[in-house]
Amino acid sequence: MSSIYRTLTGGLRRDITLTCLAVWFIGLSYGAIAVASGLPLWFPAAQSVLVLAGASEILFIGIVATGGNPIAAALAGLLVNARHVPYSLALPDLTGPGWRRLLGTHVMNDESVVFALAQEDPATQRAAYWTCGLGVLICWPSGAILGALAGSFIHDTSAFGLDAMFPAVILALIFPALRDRVTLRAALAGAAIALAAAPFLPAGLPVLLALAAVLSTLRPRTGQERNEQEGNDEG
């Protein structure tokens, strides 16, 4: 793991550290909200380690706190987390075999995926993915546990603008990809689809619907690609 960390340049290390720190702060408010909603202290602790996907965990707690059935809350959370299916399809194998695959699969989240996608070569991609993934694995639960312990001492962290940090982190990291016109058009269309759907559909679904916009990036196939395709079909 230390060799992975050394692969990262100082700038990238600093960026990942800041992102993990933001995750830690959001974890604080998540833990505090969980306890304030009447859940036992062990619950946000266990959930933050085992699920490790913030938005779905906060939604789960919100539904249970308002009297919802935990199984229904879990299904709503799963809908939010369904975006990990296309994430795992988009990423090359960055984890290696055995226990690394288990752990590496578990630490897949918005932050580790976007940091990996923003890198050029496979070695840096792998290093960024693991460093950010493990950083979130440490920061999210430790923030949640501390927040749960501090409980009512932590008031709404939105006063510090922390809720603006998550979208800003993702935006900063996809920005280089958006300089490509075709990608930018698809991204804007996807954002518009998600925003139009958000008032009507359950959380998670709007972002999945946005995937339809990627079809607009399709270009007419070149002859070479067609030949390659046919070669694959025969093989």
């Binding site: 800041l18 795992s88 939105s158 990608t183 079809l215 990036t217």
Partner: protein, 107 residues
């Protein structure tokens, strides 16, 4: 007690299901070699979804509007990203703009 058992059941469903989501694409990739065009679409799909995530987390709260302070902060971050500002500056500026607006009474 029954409440706790249900909670644990919900926790198990969510954590196992989430892990399955994370694993599914990997397993599919081991069985199928995607043609280059499909690879291109898949990578584009991740960026499009992340952009949609930015839009929804910046602008919405539940099924409604999140208020002006948060999207204003994210917009400030976006402008700085466009001007190629360092990551640290982008993220901290987004939080700072949102916090200052709320301090001034803009929700």
């Amino acid at each position: 007690m029954r409440d706790n058992a249900l909670l644990v059941a919900g926790l198990c469903v969510l954590s196992a299901g989430t892990f399955a989501c994370r694993l599914s694409g990997r397993l599919l990739r081991q069985r199928i070699t995607f043609p280059p065009r499909a690879e291109q679409l898949l990578a584009g799909g991740a960026v499009v979804m992340l952009a949609a995530l930015v839009a929804t987390t910046a602008l919405t709260k539940g099924h409604g509007f999140a208020g002006y302070a948060r999207p204003a902060g994210v917009l400030a971050g976006g402008l700085l990203a466009w001007r190629k500002a360092p990551f640290l500056v982008i993220v901290l500026a987004a939080a700072a703009v949102t916090a200052v607006l709320r301090l001034l009474g803009v929700s």
